[in-house]
Symmetry: C2
Subunit: 180 residues, 2 copies
């Protein structure tokens, strides 16, 4: 599965102090732990948490939008009117959560719900003019912060990381998306 020569020993210099302590601890215990795998997974979570906090504080909080509310506006902006179950899948939230978020966005006049006449069980959501105006103005500011983050890396690093992250999502999603 892994090509030969893929796994040289851990380079302690590149690690944070915390990570060095972990290596020492695991070595002392003689446990068969793959530190590279540990470091990869834990840094994905650390980076996601730091990124989300940053974007919320700098872009979303001033507009009184939650992370999910922003994502919903963004998805509707890109794809237009959409059935709510697809919207929930795209925004990566449970359908119950989406109901509540849509209630809020509808009350604020940013989104409108509509019942399908062909199959009256279905409900679609779409941006109002006000919603479109908001996301059109807001997204470039969101993206500007994303760019600040991306500039911490080289273009080569960015491409390899984005590819790798897509690979993780593809590799785990099939078993994880049984039901939302």
């Amino acid at each position: 599965m892994t090509s030969p020569g893929d796994d040289p020993p851990v380079h302690l210099d590149d690690l944070t102090q915390a990570e060095r302590d972990i290596v020492t601890h695991l070595r002392d215990h003689g446990l068969a732990i793959d530190f590279d795998a540990l470091a990869l997974v834990s840094n994905v979570h650390r980076a996601a948490a730091v990124l989300r906090r940053h974007l919320e504080q700098h872009v979303l909080d001033p507009e009184r939008l939650s992370w999910t509310a922003f994502t919903v506006l963004w998805v509707l902006w890109v794809w237009g009117e959409m059935e709510t179950r697809h919207l929930a899948a795209e925004a990566n939230v449970a359908k119950g959560t989406l109901s509540g978020v849509l209630d809020t966005l509808e009350q604020r006049g940013l989104v409108a719900r509509r019942r399908r006449t062909s199959d009256r069980r279905l409900v679609t959501a779409q941006l109002t003019d006000e919603g479109r105006t908001l996301i059109t103005a807001l997204f470039p500011r969101f993206n500007a912060e994303e760019q600040r983050v991306a500039r911490l890396l080289t273009g080569r690093q960015r491409r390899i990381m984005t590819d790798g992250l897509r690979g993780i999502v593809r590799g785990l999603a099939p078993s994880a998306d049984d039901e939302r």
Copy 2:
């Protein structure tokens, strides 16, 4: 900041269908959006969500441990007895959250709190024997799942990704850790 030649045009073939739709949408709107930055940030979040769900379902849920409870046990395992404010920082949770998690872990006999005699405002936490037994048995199983994920990538990809993620954390953390 960015070295020259870092930013060739987006390679549409590498993208998911959703990402291709996004590129088309942004192009149609003529907005100055950096798609690579967008793809990087959104895939960090997607990967983190999928990873967490996977690890919870396969390793943590059967032991009735929340993500944070597991992290607390892990941190105490590696660093030993610890003042709770450092424990909260290391586990990346608010201090109010930690109080509740420690209550639960203490009731289950996995962790013990102790008040410092030198400065009686301070409280430390440490693993009980039972807690140490649990995390010593559980962590290798957690790490085995981490390895399954890591094997989706080449060793070169893993190293570059882990490095890049550390860079993001370092680049944003100073402004984000004002208060927890």
